[in-house]
């Protein structure tokens, strides 16, 4: 039997799987942990009721948790609150309310230890442009106890980063690779990516995905991956958290999310009031319409409609459309 954190009392994460006798009760699990000396704290990142008020924006009671050894995609439109959430986790901004635990502890308890456990890769290089690789190396050595110079040098040569050139001469791909080299040369537990794969060519992006899967492969480390390049997540993400206008709309295992909706296309003339009431985010086009419907309501779809498995993209688009209609 595979004892995984998502098995603990979270049956809804596997609703499509009928036989679930392998679910483990939380109490049984705790007992196993006690006997085997396993670490009981299986959540690597816990965000509880995170709230941040700006003049025209409210990050509203954001709550989610990411178990050890998994990748979570954090998705939403531009301005939905992804970076605000990440800034609060990184302690770059002060939240107005709520708590963040990284590997079981809060920033307040041990600020240095908290920061040491997080590796961050943003969409822009945070190194001064005049620096060279050697400067980055010495800065990291000064700031982080856990910086491993050997690991850093290995990655610099693996990524073929030029030692002699200034960062201002680096391509976008090189800058991202440098950020990865820096983040991965410390013994971190949580990797946070904020739109880090934007603007990368497909070859480098696929390299990055491999690096990410390597990072979690020992089952002890996790990744929070904020992006709107949803096809990257479609492949490797275990969980999807979807934020819209500062509120969490979806927090689910990716496989369950993809299976819970069907994408249908059909003739506008066949949009009966009964069908219409079940459809989510109807998009009318000149020659037909497109909408989502819950998989368990598929029987209400008349014959002759085109039925497809939706991508995360499509689910997001129609859910947002639906929310805009409700407003």
């Amino acid at each position: 039997m595979f004892v995984l954190p998502q098995h603990i009392g979270k049956v809804e994460r596997n609703k499509t799987n009928k036989r679930r006798e392998d679910r483990v009760h939380a109490s049984t699990f705790m007992a196993i942990c006690a006997v085997t000396g396993m670490d009981i704290n299986m959540e690597l990142l816990e965000v509880k009721g995170l709230t941040k008020r700006y003049k025209e924006f409210l990050l509203d009671d954001v709550t989610f948790s990411l178990p050890k050894g998994y990748i979570m995609g954090y998705v939403g439109q531009n301005g939905a609150g992804k970076t605000t959430t990440i800034n609060c986790i990184n302690q770059i901004c002060n939240a107005d309310g709520g708590t963040v635990y990284v590997n079981g502890r809060r920033y307040k308890e041990n600020p240095i230890g908290y920061k040491e456990e997080i590796g961050f890769i943003g969409d822009e290089s945070y190194f001064p442009k005049e620096m060279k690789i050697s400067d980055v190396r010495s800065v990291q050595k000064t700031f982080y106890k856990s910086f491993q110079e050997g690991a850093f040098n290995e990655m610099v040569s693996r990524f073929q980063l030029p030692e002699k050139r200034r960062i201002s001469e680096f391509s976008r791909g090189m800058k991202v690779k440098l950020m990865f080299a820096v983040a991965l040369s410390r013994d971190t537990k949580l990797l946070i990516l904020d739109e880090a794969t934007n603007g990368l060519d497909p070859v480098i992006r696929s390299e990055v995905l491999k690096i990410l899967q390597d990072y979690i492969s020992d089952g002890e480390r996790s990744i929070l991956f904020s992006t709107h390049m949803l096809e990257d997540l479609e492949q490797i993400a275990d969980y999807i958290v979807f934020i819209d206008q500062g509120k969490i709309i979806i927090n689910e295992a990716k496989d369950d999310l993809l299976e819970s909706y069907i994408l249908i296309k059909g003739d506008k003339a066949e949009l009966t009031p009964e069908l219409r009431s079940r459809l989510i985010g109807i998009e009318k086009k000149e020659f037909g319409f497109e909408a989502l419907i819950k998989s368990d309501e598929a029987r209400y779809v008349p014959k002759g409609f085109v039925i497809n498995n939706p991508s995360i993209d499509k689910i997001m688009i129609h859910l947002i459309r639906n929310r805009m209609e409700e407003r």
Binding site: M1, F2, L4, Q6, N14, N17, R19, D22, G69, Y70, I71, L209, K210, Q213, D214, I216, S217, D218, G219, Q235, I236, A237, D238, Y239, A253, K254, D255, L258, E259, N309
Partner: protein
């Protein structure tokens, strides 16, 4: 072991993994006692999520094809396993059903079909 994932397939990825491993066990390409790659290694190699491969292995275990060993990977169960035996029988039945139906359709007699079976068996 060979697993090829299609993004165009109707089947979800976990089901594709499960079906392909199942097929290779049933047709003997994966022998009993074979140790399967770990959930995390398989996820990495296929470029899919860990939850996806976990689900494929969980299903294979429930259906009696593999067993997971504490702290180790998963192993293909012996053919003597009851659940698996049933699967083999079902497969034989399916094949025979097609043979019988086809024979009836062209007016073949039962003895003729049995004769044919004997010949094939000897080969």
């Amino acid at each position: 072991m060979k697993i090829l994932i299609s993004n165009q397939s109707e089947l979800p990825i976990y089901a594709q993994i499960k079906e392909q491993i199942k097929e290779q066990i049933l047709n003997g390409q994966i022998q009993e006692g074979t140790e399967l790659p770990s959930i995390r290694k398989l996820a990495k190699e296929l470029g899919v999520s860990v939850i996806t491969t976990t689900r494929a292995y969980n299903d294979l275990e429930e259906e009696g094809f593999i067993t997971s060993m504490q702290g180790k990977g998963s192993m293909v169960l012996s053919k003597e396993n009851e659940l698996l035996k049933e699967k083999y029988l079902l497969r034989i039945e399916d094949g025979m059903e097609i043979a019988v139906e086809t024979a009836k359709r062209i007016g073949m007699k039962e003895e003729e079909l049995v004769d044919l079976l004997h010949k094939l068996w000897e080969e």
